[in-house]
């Protein structure tokens, strides 16, 4: 009886043909099926330059924005809602928001050690790309805008909310003031928090990326505001910031109350 005898019979060859044929045809059909199924992303080249207008259609004046109140507007896509806040201190005096260099991926500024007096500085880890947060605009350089889709797993307003300085978030540990001067953007879904005063940098885990910042332009003469771009990480859930249906050259800004009345639809 002896060793292994390998014999490739004609029947084996037929078997091979069948297997190879099935694999070849199935393989060849994978590409057509996936190409057919994958949605056609229309990708624009440039960010639109959109004038912010009120719900009555008139241009929004920067000086009309109430301090420490949340406003919402879509940009750069019709389905990407953003937060617009005129940041202020506890007494509703506008605060100037500085320019800042932020990492695309970061450790939370506040960890458990903070409660016991830990570090509060933004650390830029090595080998991580950074971007420039442009800082506040408007007469007091206090107006900022961030994308309103949580970078952790995509929760949106009202799960993701702005809490003014001094007010309490629903965070169980709830440090009295975890953000710096400008309150906190807090996500109720899994407890992530961002610091609006420092470019929506990550304050609390589990999120790892800051909120993308909407680049605003303030026209000193007319007091009008324009949204002109997005910096920071890619908007959560989007292949790219410009992949989808773009907003037009005017976008409507709604106050929190108006937004709730409209059932979130614009």
């Amino acid at each position: 009886m002896g060793g292994v005898r390998f014999k490739f019979t004609r029947r084996d060859f037929i078997r091979f043909l069948l297997a190879a044929g099935v694999a070849g045809v199935a393989g060849s059909y994978v590409v057509p099926t996936t190409t057919y199924l994958s949605p056609r992303v229309t990708q624009a080249e440039e960010y639109p330059r959109s004038l912010l207008v009120k719900s009555n259609g008139e241009p929004l004046k920067a000086s009309e924005l109430q301090v420490n109140k949340l406003y919402l507007f879509p940009y750069p896509l019709k389905d990407t809602m953003n937060f617009l806040i005129n940041l202020g201190d506890e007494n509703d005096n506008p605060v100037e928001i500085p320019e800042l260099e932020l990492p695309l991926v970061m450790e939370p500024i506040v960890d458990i050690s903070y409660i016991m007096g830990g570090s509060k500085e933004i650390e830029i880890p090595e080998n991580v790309q950074t971007y420039k947060f442009p800082g506040g605009v408007g007469p007091n350089k206090s107006i900022v805008a961030f994308n309103g889709i949580c970078q952790h797993l995509g929760c949106i307003y009202p799960q993701l909310q702005y809490t003014r300085p001094g007010e309490k978030t629903s965070l169980p540990t709830n440090p009295p003031e975890i953000g710096e001067n400008g309150g906190v953007i807090f996500c109720r879904c899994h407890g992530s928090a961002y610091d609006p005063y420092r470019g929506a940098a990550v304050l609390l885990e589990p999120v790892l990326k800051p909120l993308p910042a909407i680049v605003l332009e303030w026209d000193q003469e007319t007091d009008q505001l324009y949204a002109v771009g997005v910096v920071g990480p890619v908007i959560f859930g989007k292949q790219c910031n410009l992949c989808g249906e773009l907003v037009g050259d005017k976008v409507t800004v709604l106050s929190e109350d108006e937004y709730k009345q409209q059932g979130g639809a614009i």
Partner: protein, 624 residues
């Protein structure tokens, strides 16, 4: 066999593939005659797959725009939508062939009455699904379909019930209409899927009817006994053959689609892409057609003498029925309701043990007339859409077929009856049967033409109808010659294998036979080792085609070169079908040693030829 063999073996045993509770059939049943139903099933599967894929892009809020977008902007969308349409055509067409094949060889006889009835109902559901499907496109045909559909429903069910059904199916207009049509299209298709499963389940209750030649055209032994010696296991034999049938049918379907797409603008009845929008100027030039499979009913609706212009009151003492006036009720009853009722009741009408068409002359005559009228009214509707037909014209065109077919079948069955009384002259009788049926067809052709000519001199349309009629007769004649003229091959063996063994002398014979069979099997095992080289070479060529087509498919622009894409996708499936057929053939070697010759190669000749045509399409499309 190593690891792969052991893994496959594991599945083989865990799934108990060797002893599947499915009917086993003799090895020589793997031919088109017994497998027409598989064409219907393959087309249905293609419809289900492509239909689900189309759902991704179809939008009831913009039916026409989304249809055009699928065709023009989505990669592979053109092939998908066109092949969905053509698969529907193929399914309906092959369902008719399946129906009439089983009609003429009396497959509906005991114990398969239920199988037959489910089949008829599934056919109706197929037409229903098809209607709801083409109404979805949003082009002029679809807009007409929705309006005409509503009219037909109202005309059949009366104003009250009709309105209810119309609102139910079509909604009250706008987006709601298309949303509902989409929902009901899918519901109807899903029900059809259930019907299909019921059809298969009932089929498995008694298996396929034995080949007519084996049982000498009798329905007395109407089951394939599972202790016959020439049976093959369902797995892998039927399984592989199903793969062969399915891929070959899909491949041919895709070839036809590519061919149609490469032909440019086609007649609206066979055009594979959506027609003009109902609000476009081209819509006015579009003939007011339904798809071809509803043309028959469309023409009968032109029979103005069937219009009920006043309500009919039927007084049955206690029950008072009012049939409202309707232009469509009688045409519907005559062209759909009565034929369907007849077909459903057929198993209970024709209960004799005869399966030969010429031994059931009345049934055969009715069947031939059904085919004739189906073809006649379809061609008629295509040629003169919407033109009124008077009672005289209808009589002139529709009575001659009755006379010709009735006379012809009567004469043929006389000849047939005599031929069986005298076995020796059977061959000659079949020759005369052939000649007789050709003459029958030819006579039909000329009589009809001359009758029509003399009445409407120069009326080309009617000439064509007459031609179609003659052609139908010719087809019938050919069918009779081919199917009923040839002599039985397997009769002796089958009758022996299926007769219950009762006497001892027979028992002895059986022992001898078993010995013979085991000798045959030994021979066969040897044959298995001798797979002919030609099969290996052909299989390798198929594999090369698959690799080449797959490579090309991945590298050409699917939107610009839709024809090439379709032709390559077709070549892939055709080649897989070819390989599956080779596997099937080698599996049969123990029963049927390879002889080579034209018959053995004709399947592959056909498949290679289609691949060749596909590559012509590919090169034309790529070079253009």
């Amino acid at each position: 066999m190593g690891v792969i063999g052991r893994i496959l073996g594991w599945f083989y045993h865990r799934l108990n593939l060797e002893h599947l509770p499915l009917y086993r059939v003799p090895y020589n049943y793997f031919n088109l005659d017994h497998w027409i139903g598989a064409i219907v099933a393959a087309a249905f599967m293609w419809l289900a797959i492509t239909g689900l894929l189309l759902l991704v892009y179809y939008s009831p809020s913009a039916p026409y725009e989304s249809s055009l977008r699928i065709v023009n902007e989505i990669p592979f969308g053109k092939i998908l939508l066109s092949s969905h349409l053509y698969a529907a055509h193929l399914m309906i067409f092959s369902a008719y062939i399946h129906l009439f094949r089983n009609y003429f060889v009396a497959s509906y006889k005991k114990p398969r009455e239920l199988l037959w009835i489910i089949g008829i109902l599934a056919g109706l559901l197929t037409l229903n699904t098809a209607f709801l499907g083409y109404a979805l496109v949003g082009d002029i045909v679809s807009a007409d379909a929705i309006n005409v559909g509503k009219g037909v429903v109202a005309g059949i069910f009366g104003p009250e019930l009709g309105t209810f059904i119309n609102n139910l199916v079509f909604g009250t207009g706008g987006e709601e209409t298309y949303t509902r049509l989409l929902a009901f299209h899918i519901i109807s298709a899903a029900l059809l899927g259930l019907m299909f499963m019921a059809h298969m389940a009932v089929f498995e209750a008694h298996g396929p009817p034995p080949d007519v030649k084996e049982v000498r055209w009798k329905a007395s032994i109407n089951i394939i006994r599972q202790d016959r010696k020439d049976l093959v296991n369902w797995f892998p034999h039927n399984f592989i053959f199903i793969i062969y049938m399915t891929t070959a049918v899909w491949g041919i379907l895709l070839f036809l689609v590519s061919l149609a797409l490469s032909a440019g603008k086609l007649h609206p009845l066979i055009s594979p892409v959506p027609g003009p929008s109902p609000v476009s100027p081209e819509a006015a030039e579009h003939p007011p057609y339904p798809p071809w499979f509803f043309l028959f009913m469309y023409k009968v609706a032109d029979f103005v003498f069937l219009t009920l212009d006043k309500p009919i009151v039927i007084d049955l003492l206690i029950l008072k029925l009012t049939i409202p006036e309707s232009p469509i009720l009688l045409p519907f009853i005559l062209s759909v309701a009565l034929p369907v009722l007849y077909l459903v009741l057929l198993p209970f009408i024709d209960t004799s043990i005869e399966r030969h068409p010429l031994k059931r002359p009345v049934i055969t005559i009715i069947g031939a007339l059904l085919i004739t009228y189906l073809i006649q009214t379809t061609v008629w509707g295509a040629l003169t859409p919407g033109q009124h037909v008077s009672l005289e014209l209808a009589t002139i065109l529709m009575v001659p077929p009755i006379v010709i077919i009735a006379l012809g079948v009567a004469i043929l069955s006389k000849i047939h009856a005599r031929s069986l009384n005298n076995e020796i002259s059977a061959g000659r009788a079949f020759v005369s049967l052939g000649i007789g049926s050709i003459m029958l067809a030819a006579t039909g052709f000329f009589i009809t033409i001359s009758v029509v000519r003399s009445i409407f001199s120069g009326a080309t349309v009617e000439d064509l109808i007459a031609g179609g009629l003659g052609f139908a007769g010719l087809l019938l004649g050919m069918y009779i010659i081919i199917n009923f003229g040839s002599k039985s091959k397997h009769t002796e063996g089958f009758v022996k294998a299926n007769m219950p063994e009762s006497n001892d002398p027979v028992q002895e014979k059986k022992v001898q036979e078993t010995e013979k069979v085991s000798a045959v099997l030994k021979e066969a095992r040897k044959a298995e080792e001798e797979i002919p080289l030609s099969l290996l070479i052909m299989g390798t060529i198929y594999l090369v085609i698959i690799l080449a087509s797959g490579f090309l498919l991945a590298n050409i622009d699917p939107i610009e070169k839709a024809v090439a894409v379709g032709a390559l996708m077709s070549s892939l499936l055709i080649s897989l079908g070819g390989i599956a057929h080779i596997v099937h053939r080698t599996l049969l070697l123990p029963y049927d040693p390879y002889k080579g010759g034209w018959k053995e190669y004709k399947v592959h000749a056909l498949l290679y030829f289609i691949v060749f045509l596909n590559y012509i399409l590919v090169s034309i499309n790529l070079l253009a």
